[in-house]
Amino acid sequence: MRIPCPYCGERSREEFTVLGSAEAERPSPTASAESWVVYLHLRANPAGVHQEFWHHTHGCRAWLIVTRDTVTHTVLAVTPALDRARAAA
C-alpha cells in the first residue's frame, strides 16, 4: 500500500502511522455521556470506503485524512487534517 502525501508525494505505507477512523465528529465537551460513548467506542466499520487519520511519522509529520477502501486497500483520496480543523473552526 502506498499513500500519496499532499506535501511529500507518494510514499510507502511504512513511513506512516495509522490512528484510526476519522468518520465520527468529536462531540462538544458539554455533550451527553451517550454521545461520548458513541464517539469513543462505536464504529460503522464499513467494508468499503473508510476515512482514517494517518500520520506521516517518517516524513513531513503532518496529520492526514486518508479515504481508503478497506476491501481492496485502494487509497482514494488524501487531504491534510488541518483543512478539516480550519473548516470547523
Binding site: 505505507r13 458513541v38 464504529r43 466499520n45 464499513p46 467494508a47
Partner: protein, 416 residues
C-alpha cells in the same frame, strides 16, 4: 458412525470404502427454534452445546461458504489460559478444561497437544509483570511456573539467551497450554452437532434480518427466508455487517492479522514460545512446519491479506529469537479478519432486540476460546441470560465503564 480403532482397521482393510459423510447436507427447513449465523468454530460449538447441554436440537447453523473456511482454519492453533484479569482467567481456564476433554466428548481426533506455552521476558520490570500474572493465575487455580534463564535454556534449545539485543531473563510457563489441529475443531463440532440433529447449512449466506415489534422472527438468506425464535450471531470478522442488518452498531473494528508457515523440518521446537520484546509467537506443527505470527497490520481491513511491513517485522522477531531459523524458507502466508473490540475482550451477550444474541469481538484470541465461547453462548441463548463465566463480557460495558482491558490500551482497537 462412531470412530474407534475397529472402524479404522475395518476401513484400512477395505480400501476406505465404508466411511460415511461426517455430517449431512440437508435442505433448509422453513423454520427452526434457534438459528446460529456463522459456521466457524464458535458457531458450530454453540450449536453442539445447545443440543448436548440444553436439549435444544431444532437448530440450524448458517454458513455463507464452507464450514471451517474462515478464521477457525486460519489461525496459529494456540490454546492457553494465561490471563491476568479475573474475567479472562476464569473464562479461558474453562475453555482449556473443555479442550482437555474435547476429543473424548466429540469422538473426534483434534490432536490436542499440551506442549506448554512459554512467554519470555527480557527485563526486570517484565519479570515483575509476568510474576504478577502467574500469581493471579495460581490464585484462580490455573497452572503457572516462573522460569529463570537457565531453565529456559534447558527447555528450548536454539533460543538465543545471552547474546541478543534483548537477552532472555526467563519466562512464564503454562504447561497445560499448547496447540490443537484447528480444522479438526470445526469438523469435530460439526459432526457431533449434526449427530444430535443440528442442520448445518453451508453456502447459505444471511442477507437480512426480519424483526417485528422489537423481536427477531427469522433471517433472510440466499436460500430464502428461515424463521427462528432465537438467532445467535457468531461471525467474527464480519460482525459489524451482520449486526447492521439488525440496526446495531458495535464497538468493533475489523483488522487483518497475518500468519506464516515455514517449510517442514525435523522436530526442532516442542513448545509454544512467545517473544516479550516484540509481538511474536511460534510453534512447530506435527507436519514439521513452523507456524508463527505477530501483530495485526493496524489499519481497518476486510482484504484477508496484509502488507510487507508486518511480514518484515515478524521475520525479524523470529530471527532475533532463533537465528537458526534464518535459513528456513517460508512456505505460506495468509491473512484473517479480526473483530478488534475497543478493550481487547470479547462480547457474548443478549442484544436490545429480543431473541437476538451476539458473540463477537474476539480480537486475535478467538481460537483458544472456541469451546468456552460456544458453551457460554449456548447457555445464554438457551436460558436467556448469561452464565457467570460470560456475564462480564457484556455488550453495554463500554457505556457502563466496566471494560476488561487486559493490555490497558484504552479505546483504541488497533492497539489491543
Amino acid at each position: 458412525m462412531r470412530y474407534s480403532a475397529i472402524t479404522l482397521l475395518r476401513n484400512a482393510f477395505s480400501g476406505n470404502r465404508l466411511w460415511t459423510p461426517a455430517w449431512r447436507d440437508p435442505e433448509p427447513k422453513p423454520g427452526y427454534d434457534t438459528v446460529i449465523i456463522g459456521g466457524g468454530g464458535h458457531g458450530l460449538a454453540t450449536a453442539y452445546y445447545l443440543a448436548a447441554e440444553h436439549g435444544v436440537s431444532n437448530v440450524a447453523v448458517l454458513e455463507k461458504g464452507l464450514i471451517g473456511s474462515g478464521n477457525v482454519g486460519r489461525n496459529t492453533t494456540i490454546i492457553r489460559s494465561n490471563y491476568l484479569l479475573p474475567a479472562n482467567t476464569h473464562f479461558y481456564e474453562h475453555s482449556l478444561k473443555l479442550w482437555e476433554g474435547l476429543e473424548r466428548e466429540l469422538n473426534y481426533n483434534a490432536m490436542v497437544s499440551q506442549r506448554g506455552v512459554l512467554n519470555l521476558f527480557h527485563s526486570d520490570a517484565q519479570r515483575d509483570a509476568y510474576a504478577r500474572r502467574g500469581n493471579a493465575m495460581l490464585l484462580a487455580g490455573v497452572d503457572a511456573e516462573l522460569l529463570d534463564a537457565e531453565a529456559v535454556r534447558a527447555m528450548v534449545p536454539g533460543l538465543v539467551i545471552d547474546d541478543a539485543r534483548f537477552p532472555v531473563r526467563g519466562g512464564l510457563l503454562q504447561r497445560r497450554g499448547g496447540t490443537v489441529r484447528h480444522d479438526a475443531v470445526a469438523w469435530g463440532y460439526a459432526r457431533a452437532a449434526d449427530g444430535r440433529g443440528v442442520d448445518i447449512l453451508q453456502n447459505t449466506e444471511v442477507v437480512g434480518m426480519r424483526i417485528e415489534r422489537g423481536r427477531v422472527v427469522g433471517v433472510e438468506t440466499t436460500r430464502g427466508f428461515i424463521a427462528a425464535r432465537r438467532v445467535g450471531i457468531a461471525v467474527a470478522g464480519h460482525s459489524s455487517q451482520v449486526a447492521a442488518m439488525a440496526g446495531l452498531r458495535l464497538p468493533i473494528e475489523s483488522h487483518v492479522l497475518q500468519a506464516f508457515v515455514s517449510e517442514a523440518v525435523k522436530p526442532v521446537l516442542d513448545t509454544v514460545v512467545t517473544f516479550g520484546a516484540g509481538h511474536f509467537y511460534i510453534s512447530q506443527s506435527d507436519k514439521g512446519g513452523l507456524v508463527f505470527g505477530g501483530d495485526i497490520d493496524g489499519y481497518n481491513s476486510y482484504a484477508q491479506r496484509g502488507s510487507l511491513a508486518v511480514v518484515k517485522d515478524v521475520m525479524e522477531s523470529a530471527v532475533a529469537l532463533f537465528p537458526r531459523f534464518s535459513r528456513l524458507r517460508y512456505l505460506r502466508q495468509w491473512g484473517g479478519i479480526m473483530d478488534m473490540s475497543m478493550d481487547g475482550s470479547p462480547i457474548i451477550d443478549r442484544t436490545p432486540i429480543e431473541g437476538l444474541y451476539i458473540n463477537c469481538g474476539w480480537c486475535y484470541g478467538g481460537f483458544k476460546a472456541t469451546p468456552a465461547s460456544g458453551w457460554c453462548f449456548a447457555h445464554t441463548i438457551a436460558t436467556g441470560a448469561p452464565h457467570p463465566l460470560n456475564a462480564p463480557f457484556r455488550l453495554d460495558r463500554f457505556a457502563s465503564g466496566a471494560v476488561i482491558d487486559e493490555k490497558g490500551a484504552g479505546a483504541q482497537a488497533n492497539l489491543h
